[in-house]
Symmetry: C2
Subunit: 281 residues, 2 copies
């Protein structure tokens, strides 16, 4: 049975009790609306640690005023059932006032991998992510934290956050979970109509084709231009970006280093992101 | 004998060993050039904790390009003698690359009490302080940290940093140590000529007079204007600010709350700061 705590004090008391027993503690930060992708993160955490905490907090600081904070899916009872089923030991479900009390006025800003890509379209996003993840890591003090590779730039930013602030947390990226047609699992998929779902399922295919082309030595600029055209041809309304980057620093792609092709594209009001690996040549 | 460590790993190993013995650990962050003011912080730490760490690190991120980073006094051998004499258990003396490795790209920014005062004249100062103190608190994980009230706005910013980021560190402000004429101890006093020292010694007298006037019901604006004139009359070249503020949040002063009169003024190339208490009426 998954225990539930809503306060930082209760979270800390539980983690300290586990630590006193010599147990290794993992944290999986989430915004709830849990799907199989999240469950795979919990499994990865449980394979490597003795105790697994899942935080569920829809972080207002990573949404711009124009974004979907209010309609972001919230389904706590269903989420807790999933945690229980996955064998998660503790759910941390703080209210907004517990995380950001009256007068809260501090921000953590990570440069480096946050440059470009998502930041060009969501300028305050990674400050919001870094601030809440920094706080969660200080609150829970886990040995290990697991993030999905689906939000690949976020994973790189969180790793950089830990390195730069000396947070003693091992950050593990876990492979993206996809449906049978390769669509990356996302809480935002719930916004899609049946017709849009069919279009969305083309996104990963276009990325894989682009990655294979790069691995085979195709020109980067023309490969990205073709990918952009193919995404629009699949029915997407806008391609925010489709770019190849070096996989650790997110610096410009180099064919002799492992890379990623990353995309953000919009279908109606829904914005989807995905990424695939490009092996070094 | 004070042990000396230069790496975060060695610092953590020592703190973890102490914690395993159930010992309470205090940290006194400094930039070296230690004087009796610093020694009083160490004494305050040693009264409240079993082990005292002093960090000595001239933090480049809290100096603007135009400021005195290069000529800031550095005297490590002398400092270590003082730590030894004071009974400090551990000195943490990292190099710049240990604190800010190649590619470092993260900043912590604290709003609230950082508004105005020093920030109007040193815009990046508190981001530099918050980033290095946040890192030090994560690196050393002390139970307690002691800061001087001489840098009063800094003390308020550090307290806010801990509250906002949930850093489990008790931050203690320790009273300013003054010479026989009331001049606040400061590493920057070393820059002053004998004639400037005489002028500098007027600063605290002007502040005390202003604080007493406010406590006695004098008008705030005219009291501050008189204080500014008196500082210039004492021989200072420029008064950056002299202001009354509420003592915890540094919001505008209210006579029914404990307050502070804070000043920054320049004598030649040397910039001095000081502050005194104003009791609530």
């Amino acid at each position: 049975m998954t225990s539930v705590v809503e306060t930082i004090a209760a979270l800390r008391a539980q983690v300290q009790a586990w630590r006193a027993e010599g147990l290794k503690v993992a944290l999986v930060p989430t915004m709830g609306a849990l799907h199989d992708g999240h469950v795979s993160l919990m499994r990865a955490a449980l394979e490597r640690a003795d105790r697994c905490i899942v935080s569920i907090f829809v972080n207002p600081r990573q949404f711009a005023p124009t974004e979907d904070l209010d309609k972001y899916p919230r389904q706590l009872a269903l989420d807790l059932e999933k945690l229980d089923h996955a064998g998660v030991h503790l759910a941390f479900t703080p209210g907004v006032d517990e995380v950001y009390p009256q007068g809260f006025a501090t921000a953590i800003s990570v440069g480096g991998p946050s440059a470009g890509l998502e930041t060009d379209f969501r300028p305050a996003f990674f400050d919001g992510v870094a601030t809440v993840v920094g706080k969660l890591f200080i609150q829970a003090a886990p040995d290990l934290a697991v993030f999905g590779e689906k939000d690949y730039q976020q994973l790189c930013v969180v790793k950089k956050l830990c390195r730069d602030l000396d947070l003693p947390v091992e950050v593990l990226g876990s492979p993206t979970i996809r449906d049978a047609e390769g669509l990356a699992m996302s809480s935002r998929n719930a916004y899609l109509s049946a017709a849009e779902l069919d279009m969305a399922r083309q996104l990963n295919k276009v990325l894989r084709k682009a990655a294979t082309a790069l691995e085979d030595g195709a020109d980067e600029a023309s490969t990205m231009a073709s990918a952009r055209q193919a995404i629009l041809a699949a029915g997407f309304d806008v391609v925010d970006y489709v770019e190849a980057r070096e996989s650790v620093t997110l610096a410009p792609w180099r064919k002799d280093r492992d890379g990623r092709v990353l995309v953000a594209a919009r279908l109606g009001k829904t914005r989807l992101i995905d990424n695939v690996e490009v092996a070094a040549r």
